[in-house]
Subunit: 128 residues, 6 copies
């Protein structure tokens, strides 16, 4: 597959999962690190997220869990909570995933994850 195809396929998947927010992320990198934006599209979305071996809902559950546990990527966690809602997770399911991280990364990680969920849920509600 050519790079052009990977980019196009990745951008379509990015927009399917994130909506316009996805385009904005890529656009925001144009002035400083445009190739990082291109790799996000080509590799993260054109390669990984286009794989058929796992459904998008499970992929977002995995990402929300990992980012909650790491605790170093609040912006990205909020984006993936919105993506989770977009691909079919309920708010309650997302809260459960985050709460469960208290077991594996401690209560502060879960509490900060819940705060990210609160902000993402509010953003989602304001767009409907």
């Amino acid at each position: 597959m050519s790079e052009a195809t990977r980019y196009e396929r990745g951008l379509a998947k990015l927009v399917e999962i994130y909506g316009d927010r996805g385009r904005q992320l890529i656009a925001s990198l144009q002035d400083i690190a445009p190739d990082l934006g291109r790799y996000v599209v080509e590799f993260a979305f054109g390669d990984i997220h286009c794989r058929q071996q796992l459904d998008l809902r499970s992929r977002e559950i995995a990402t929300i869990a990992a980012l909650t546990a790491l605790g170093t990527a609040g912006t990205q966690l909020r984006a993936h909570i919105l993506a989770g809602l977009h691909v079919g997770c309920t708010e309650q399911e997302i809260v459960e995933v985050i709460m469960q991280m208290a077991l594996y990364a401690g209560f502060p990680a879960a509490l900060n994850g819940i705060q990210a969920a609160r902000e993402a849920f509010a953003e989602n509600a304001s767009k409907r």
Copy 2:
């Protein structure tokens, strides 16, 4: 609910998810930190994993993702990969979850997660 009930409910859930390996973990703590074992049973399994708001398969996907991303808990990651197989994840799905962590925690985390999966899959195969 009384503590006895939480413990019994938690132990049943622990064995449902982990099989005998779960009992062994708790037994291994008796000589040094028996209460930590009790909290694992009561809180992690009697409280969190008994919650109905998320299915066990999604819970294991979340845990496998988080432990792969954190990269500090190889023993527990192997245990949860076995648990994932036990509650209905396929080997391919587990590999996908771990591969995806390359995006969120880097390639070394994913490569070490795959090594944990290799060991867990072998242990699982040897028990059938």
Copy 3:
């Protein structure tokens, strides 16, 4: 012990350590993840912090050290610095614990911990 007793015991311990700030944390979770608040009360405070085998001052020193080293939980670090003052640590002792983390987690962790201490000390002073 029944769940009601654990909750009551935990809430009393939470207020002993944190004062009203503890109640506010639990209240703030009511709209989105009330059970996470309940687990904080029952497990973190009703189970762990009620244990007699270690004094509260040592428990707060341990928590301040860990949260400074992890570097991912600024809100919780400030809360535990206030709790440390509340259970008898001096400001100087807390600064020492945080400074020592330069050895085990690096200077940025210690510098960010000191910034959290500055904010917590100011909040504490404003309440007297």
Copy 4:
């Protein structure tokens, strides 16, 4: 070498690398943890950064990479990006180092590192 000499040597190196921003960091610690500031000068700069076995440009590349990967020290990352520019790295080289961290610590770490670079580059431009 006496402590006075280490302090003087360290302060000179700190100012060589950071300019006035270095003095401000040390001054900002005077009211709460002056000895932490002294150790930064004596040990971090008087001992480590004065070592001749590695050039300052390589040292800043190493630090920018590490702080981007850790993801817990935004303030210090911005300071070291400015220091990197100060000791001869180009903006493009710094962007490359940060982008490369997508491989070793994941895309969120790289994206947050790029955001730190954007802010540091702007601060640097405003001072010229």
Copy 5:
């Protein structure tokens, strides 16, 4: 204070806390990074651990908590558990500190910390 004095003071403190194990750590670095060993003696022990503002028992509680929470330094965690015993912590107190980390860094961190304690306690028993 001259460097010689810091080194001597640090070495005495290192041996006070760690016994011969401390000397072995420094000796083990002679062939590859002798200056790192020197900095451990001078800065970690000659500067930080000689400070009077916090007792050694509290310092070891802080370090055991931090290393358990970080989960990346098993060798050092075992050494500090031995040091904790050496400066007056009981085995039970050390187990409590580690168990408490389940709250702040998750159960896998606590379980791995308990395993380190088991090994350190056995080493300590074999030396008596």
Copy 6:
């Protein structure tokens, strides 16, 4: 550029940096996660490490620093220390980079990094 070209370019770069060890890594993934090996070749080496904006020596310094600081990827750290030697870093320079991480990630991270260097240097010496 087509995928075939990215793969070929990436494999050539992988072997340039790692020698046969690089081929072995990819081969070791064939039975369980062959696509992860393909992404390492295509994205990590065909995309990132082929970029001209930063020299390979600086890239390895960045990676050694990051993996030392993270402390969760011993296998990969050893591989990158060998790669660093391969692209022109001296043993002394690598030791300096690792020592410097004591400042940014703490002494345990630096000490464990030095242990990785010891093993990598021995492996390198045995192959000459």
